[in-house]
Symmetry: C2
Subunit: 669 residues, 2 copies
């Protein structure tokens, strides 16, 4: 007994679970076609990469970056100069990409690896960039050491628009996090960084024409135009487009703090510190508003090189419009019968401005309007049905509903959300072709610079796979196994998402033992959807240093336990439950001592009780005996109690144990 | 039984060990005077820092940095603008420091914390910088949350020269690692960054006068003069002097690859790729050598602002001098009877050049020469005796012997090495006053950019404490407990030393379970002193990705086990041994599968056997029964076997179990 007991630690379990599930190519996203071949290409100090055919500085830099990353992955210094002979990795690029990356450019590539060489060929540098990520993901270890298994890969994306939409207004997101986000996006073959640059809580980009936007609207936290150019250039190196969003006419409190004359009410306005949907809104009846937007967007469309320009348009309630005699008179004059028509009027004017400056308009569902030109793109936060309406009207669209990383949903949920579902499957092929892809979104009300990356990564990678890989790729367990590897790869790439989790756990522990606090943080999840931000308790200045801020969006420990129950792996089930019971007891004194953890005391009690119930239940389930009638009832009630939010977290041990109890109870309750 | 077993994981043990030992102020280095007071200063969003009295940009930036770091530590956003009322932290600075930091400037400070305010006062900005680090280290958590305990601290350093000597030649150390090293040095109140910029394997700083030094002598890995200025400015912000070393006349192969005419033999020379002491040496008989050094050192003394300039002078065997008719004739002419006198001649000429350029000379023991002016500083790699000789002759000196971080010795060994020991205690007070302090050294033959920081930190912090805190501060267990906290603080500061360890462990594990591989890496240490570099197997291009490269210099797990044995904490001893036995079994299959770990297979067998022996022994020891005679012998023999190096690592489980066996065997063998 004692011999194997120490093995029964969650660390070991997790690790084993990961290992045994990681069958098949450990790649993310999975390629369109993958064929294993015999043999293996050795990676050693003689590694050499060569670019043949068409080349450009971006390609040679990408090759050099690949060598650096190969060193990070393998620890093998690869002194290019020193290495002679044929290239280990031969890059064959047929021609250039567009100078400014455009929607729908060819990203396909072919990667052929045999024991003598890896050959990566693509029509243009974009395909090469995608293929290099695949090559780096293929590097692994066998009995002889580090290398790449022989393989033939033919790969291209399912959708041409695969993005991350990142709010940098509600909390300030510094440049280094922006760049790391781009690094990670490149690693999972995403190609659009949607930069949500303004909102009620801050205007985050320098305007030389309207400097008060940042001097009065940003608390000094904004990107200079030089930094914006730096980000665009950095993204271009990785084959990523940068689409800016300036959200109008709502979500503009920070604008109005700087230029109140643009508002529907006189003001004065202050930068919004809370979260939610607010009344301040631009006044569509004022010509100066359109002049302002013409000047500002003129400046911004010159700064941002992408063909698309996002004008937001979401969540306008228009209370102030209704209360404004001026606006009401204007509506009457223009024959606009309600706020909806007024916003349509506004959107049309703004779209014309964007068009005048040579860009295509992107906006949220709300801007949809049959009178707009068909070249606009609708980003749908409402869902596939709304997306279907847009493409039926001849517009193009993106799905973001179901990809909101800030809502603390599972990777599985995001992974199985497909732009083509029962609502869109019935569209014509031509209509479906206008569904361009999707964007994972990160809204930053409830995150700080310390935990935001642990909220975006690694989960965004499963959205990347959904949008790149064939629709048939849907094996959830395979996804989770590969996601664990991907998470490690991202940390090797420089993302600190796993490190910051440990640092925040250690902060909670203070001088007390870290192990039990880590076990607690590992088994809880933050409450879901808008439970926190709707509470109204939070502002831009609220400390985000609690258990709920530390806990990851999804508990691996809880999921692995649920899998063990489903698999009737009673050994794992028992040892996990024993570990939980012990950890719940071990963490209790720390919860008493640490101010940051006092609120979590009830969780330890629920956790201990949940483990006890599970240990009773597994004896029935494992033996195949059905629990006596009346046994399950009170226990399920206790589990319902344990499953309720405490300190804005959910004890994720409860659902798995509930399944176990139901198993133990058989039909009877 | 099962109830507590999962608790018996090393993670829990370590964490507990740390917690229960961290009594007293959890500061490193410990202050000269510390007096706890009643009450506590709360840290919340209203935190505000104010600089009163003398101020300068460096101080206001330090205050701002303190606010940022406080956020990192606490997660509490501290919007200075928003905060009103009196300062939470009041900085009272009496006057300026010297524009260029000098040896022996006042670094003392007083920190008074009461429940209403923290007051930090110092004679100059240097003292403020030291005090700010103490303030940040005081922030902790109690039942009410985050704050600083009320305290009265009067603090000043024991020695004025507390440095890290960092070789950036043998392996290239990029700028970001240099800066992080400075950050960490500042955090532990060190004040000299000794930059070993040239050696046989590379010349690492741009010379505009002699560009071939880097174009032919650096593989393109060098710091531009702009970067050097950046580092000096960065160090100045942290109150750290930057002393450059250009090692002559030996250790100059990279120079000679660029300018062979300076050599004793004609050449041609190539950058050295191996490790050791090599024959190439400057020719002291050539006037062009002194002209070259005059020009180069003229350029470098203008680039580096510190008053001291390090000329190396170590490890010259002079074989080429003996073989050179030219040099022999020169020695005869000058009446120099041996290589030793020839080097003294050379040193005198070079010292005169350094002096002419307005700097004081620093060098290793070998330059010691009664004829040199008394303002030079000897850095002793030979030890306190050699140091004593120097100060007796009227020179000043630093200790580095005993502080070589690259030799993989314990923190305890470095911690207990004191510049004032039996060899120097007998010196007069006046002589002792010329012992300026010491420098931890990091020679980088056997490290890469991936593991170098985990080899320097956190151990360098114990050298910092030795040189800052009173000599009487020598409690080793307290040191280890505080070192664990310090290690976490350093990671919060941005050092990746714990993260890189985990990433390297994960690389070793490949697709296999990480837990057992981590347990293995946790219990081994690299072989000590020069066992590796003397093997001759290694070059600049050798992969450093093995278990020996991953393992930390000192095994916390092994040390905590030895402590448990010494404390007769049989519960911990048993559970650790059980964990080891299980982990040794669990890791075995991975060692078979992974090429990088094949060499470690014997370790798993020794480890399992060691655990078995320990489990037998603890039954005797715990029960107080003495093991039958004849029992211990074969087991001690097995432990001797287990203690032998395998794959250049040492199984550190063996010594603790040996102590246990001897305990069990009582007198009998």
């Amino acid at each position: 007994m004692t011999k194997v007991n120490p093995l029964r630690s969650l660390a070991f379990l997790l690790a084993s679970a990961v290992a045994c599930l990681a069958a098949g190519p450990d790649l993310m996203p999975l390629p369109a076609q993958y064929e294993a071949r015999a043999g293996r290409l050795v990676i050693d100090g003689a590694f050499r990469v060569k670019v043949s055919g068409y080349t450009e500085p971006r390609l040679t830099r990408a090759a050099a970056r690949t060598v650096d990353r190969l060193f990070k992955q393998t620890g093998i210094p690869t002194p290019q100069a020193a290495a002679a002979g044929p290239a280990t990795l031969l890059i064959e690029c047929k021609g250039p990409s567009k100078p400014i990356q455009t929607l729908g450019e060819d990203e396909s590539y072919t990667l052929e690896v045999d024991p003598t060489q890896a050959r990566l060929s693509a029509a243009n540098p974009l395909g090469v960039l995608r293929g290099l990520e695949t090559f780096l993901q293929l590097v692994d270890q066998d009995g002889n050491g580090l290398g790449v298994p022989a393989v033939s890969i033919h790969d291209q994306p399912r959708f041409p628009w695969r993005g991350v939409s990142f709010d940098v207004s509600r909390h300030w997101i510094p440049l280094d996090i922006v760049k790391r986000t781009l690094d990670a996006m490149g690693a999972v073959k995403m190609n659009v960084y949607h930069w949500h640059l303004s909102d009620d809580q801050g205007f985050r980009v320098e305007s030389k024409r309207y400097p008060k936007l940042t001097s009065l609207g940003s608390d000094g936290h904004f990107y200079t135009q030089a930094q914006v150019r730096e980000v665009i250039a950095y993204a271009h190196e990785l084959g990523i487009r940068v689409v800016p969003e300036f959200d109008v006419p709502g979500h503009t409190t920070a604008w109005l703090a700087a230029y109140p004359e643009l508002g529907t009410v006189p003001g004065p306005y202050e930068i919004e510190r809370k979260w939610g949907i607010f009344d301040p809104v631009l006044d569509p009846s004022k010509e100066i508003v359109y002049q302002f937007l013409d000047n500002l967007f003129g400046e911004m469309t010159r700064l941002f090189d992408d063909a698309y320009f996002h004008i937001g348009g979401d969540e306008v309630e228009g209370k102030q419009w209704q209360a404004s005699a001026r606006v009401q008179a204007f509506m009457k004059k223009e024959g606009l019968k309600d706020n909806h028509e007024l916003q349509r009027y506004f959107s049309r004017r703004v779209q014309a401005i964007v068009q005048k400056h040579g860009k295509r308009t992107e906006g949220w569902d709300e801007i949809l309007d049959p009178h707009l030109p068909k070249d606009i793109v609708i980003q749908s936060w409402r869902g596939q049905k709304s997306l279907g309406v847009a493409v039926q009207q001849g517009y193009s669209g993106l799905l973001s509903a179901g990809y909101y990383l800030d809502l603390m949903q599972t990777a599985e949920f995001h992974y199985l959300t497909d732009p083509i579902n029962e609502d869109t499957r019935t569209l014509t092929a031509e209509q479906q072709s206008r569904i361009l892809g999707g964007e994972a979104t990160m809204w930053v009300e409830m995150v700080s610079t310390q935990n935001v990356e642990a909220r975006v990564w690694p989960r965004a990678a499963v959205v990347a796979e959904r949008l790149w890989s064939p629709q048939s790729v849907r094996d959830v367990r395979s996804m989770y196994a590969r996601l664990e590897t991907m998470s490690r790869r991202l940390e090797l790439l420089g993302l600190p998402h796993r490190q910051t989790y440990r640092l925040m756990v250690e902060r909670l522990a203070g001088g007390e033992p870290v192990g039990p606090v880590k076990a607690l943080a590992d088994i809880v999840e933050p409450v879901k959807i808008y439970a926190r931000s709707d509470s109204g308790k939070y502002t831009q200045f609220t400390p985000l240093n609690r258990l709920v801020d530390t806990a990851l969006p999804e508990s691996d420990a809880a999921r692995n336990f649920r899998y063990a129950v489903a698999d009737k792996d009673w050994k794992t089930v028992r040892s996990t439950l024993e570990h939980w019971r012990a950890a719940a007891a071990a963490v209790r004194p720390t919860l008493e001592k640490n101010g940051l953890l006092l609120e979590a005391r009830p969780i330890a009690d629920h956790w201990a009780r949940t483990a006890e119930i599970g240990l009773e239940a597994v004896e029935f389930a494992a033996s195949g005996r059905t629990a006596p009638s009346g046994w399950a009832g009170p226990r399920l009630a206790a589990l319902d109690e344990a499953a309720k939010p405490v300190a804005e977290t959910l004890l994720m041990a409860a659902p798995g144990v509930r399944a176990l109890v139901e198993l133990a109870a058989g039909g009877s309750k």
